[in-house]
């Protein structure tokens, strides 16, 4: 049974095909409106994540399907001590596909090993969130038309940001990609990601603390939130925080066709004034997330022989 647990479960051909399906859904939504009629998506959210859950639910509804599920562990059998494996077996009797969010890393993999229906990882702790990466990839494809030969800047918390690690993993499989890693020393990209992903694929990268310095060369700027709790002292946090806030001033040296992305929610790392800049794509990313989840549900249900 094919599930999606890690973005690397998908080949580049499969990603290209998902993106193509998403683009076709955007172009001809009516063609897809009944594709999942009579089918059910179970959203098993053991921790709250309103936006991701609603995105999955909207995706299934726009395919003509139905949704069942829960939005936090307290309203599930987990409170009675039921294991993830048992939950997956039980839900397999009710639904056709599962989207699972869980605070523990690896829980969706356990579900996929026990379910008889496809499982989509909708985020497992700080580990994986493959559909966010698919949303990011669809956004890049829509804005740039391709994944090859792009200079991609990641800015902010590169140490703990799972969306950053996943997107680097996914983009590392394309040719001519260059990574620009912008962060304070405390939040640099972990050595194993550089070693096992970027260097292993022979791709160039630079590490810098200054966003302004590298801004002119970027095709994509992927912003993330620098969280105060990641620092040893409040003083250090306050000293560094503003260096990683994107405002109209810092954008002055940027390319005309720069694509500004952010996995959201944003707190203050992108000034609201930037929202009016046509290069700001982070709300488009949200919409793209729904389309690519539609494409993914279709792919998995088709492969399972359900539709």
């Amino acid at each position: 049974m094919k599930s999606l647990i890690d973005i690397l479960d998908l080949s580049t051909e499969e990603i290209d095909s998902l993106v193509d399906t998403a683009l076709d859904i955007i172009a001809s939504p009516a063609k897809y409106a009944e594709k999942c009629r009579g089918k059910k998506l179970a959203t098993l959210f053991f921790e709250p994540s309103t936006r991701t859950r609603l995105s999955f639910e909207a995706a299934m509804m726009e395919l003509g399907g139905n949704v069942i599920g829960f939005s936090e562990a307290s309203s599930s059998s987990a409170t009675k001590g039921e294991s993830v494996a048992d939950t997956a077996k039980v839900i397999s009797c009710y639904a056709d596909i599962i989207a699972m969010r869980h605070p523990k890393e690896g829980a969706p993999l356990v579900a996929s090993m026990n379910a008889s229906i496809p499982v989509i990882n909708a985020g497992d702790g700080g580990h994986n969130h493959p559909t966010q990466t698919l949303a990011d990839l669809l956004t890049i494809r829509r804005e740039k038309g391709h994944f090859d030969n792009l200079t991609v800047g990641f800015c902010g918390d590169l140490k703990f940001g799972r969306t950053v690690h996943s997107l680097i993993n996914a983009l590392s499989r394309y040719t001519g990609v260059k990574f620009v890693l912008i962060s304070p020393d405390e939040l640099k990209l972990p050595g194993y990601v550089i070693r096992d992903v970027i260097e292993k694929n022979g791709l160039p990268y630079v590490e810098t603390r200054s966003l302004e310095e590298v801004m002119p060369e970027l095709d994509i700027l992927y912003m993330t939130r620098v969280q105060g709790e990641r620092f040893f002292s409040e003083e250090e946090y306050l000293r560094l925080r503003d260096s990683y806030i994107l405002d109209t001033e810092k954008l002055k040296g940027a390319k005309e066709d720069l694509v500004i992305m952010h996995p959201l929610p944003r707190v203050n790392e992108i000034s609201v004034a930037v929202d009016r800049d046509p290069r700001a794509c982070y709300f488009k990313q949200v919409l793209n997330g729904k389309y690519v989840r539609m494409a993914l549900i279709l792919k998995l249900l088709t492969e399972a022989g359900t539709i």
Binding site: K104, G106, V110
Partner: protein, 138 residues
């Protein structure tokens, strides 16, 4: 030093000198009723010094444990006083129930019945990662 040869049992040979005790513990040999000999730092033409474990019973042993602790070990199964089977153990591709995941965020910390499974991701550096959370084995 003389250790009697065994008639039916297992000889774990070519253990890197000093690792015999670790293997002894991991294989749970302390709980066996039969004779078990742990020979440390004995002379070896190939290795200079080596450890050997002799078990005087044909018990099932975990080749995964052996391969993980010390790849290159030879396991000889003795039946009727002769070597009936000889296996050189390599680093196993998967380890099930051998080491525990220590990542507090891993699903294995809350679901006790789950097997702790690690996959070999780099043979050169002998790196194993948890299949659930991808934490590196310590």
């Amino acid at each position: 030093m003389k250790i009697d040869s065994i008639n039916n049992g297992i000889v774990i040979d070519h253990i890197t000198a000093g690792r015999g005790m670790e293997l002894y513990r991991l294989l749970g040999l302390d709980s066996l009723d039969c004779s078990v000999a742990l020979i440390r730092n004995t002379a070896s033409r190939k290795m200079g010094k080596k450890d050997i474990i002799k078990i005087d019973a044909d018990i099932p042993v975990s080749f995964d444990v052996i391969g993980y602790v010390d790849p290159g070990i030879t396991v000889n199964v003795i039946r009727g006083g002769v070597i009936a089977e000889k296996r050189t153990i390599e680093l196993p591709a998967t380890l099930t129930g051998v080491i525990k995941c220590k990542n507090p965020r891993c699903i294995t910390t809350v679901e006790q019945e789950l097997d702790h499974v690690f996959k070999l991701v780099d043979r050169e550096t002998k790196t194993y990662r948890c299949i659930y959370c991808e934490a590196k084995a310590e």
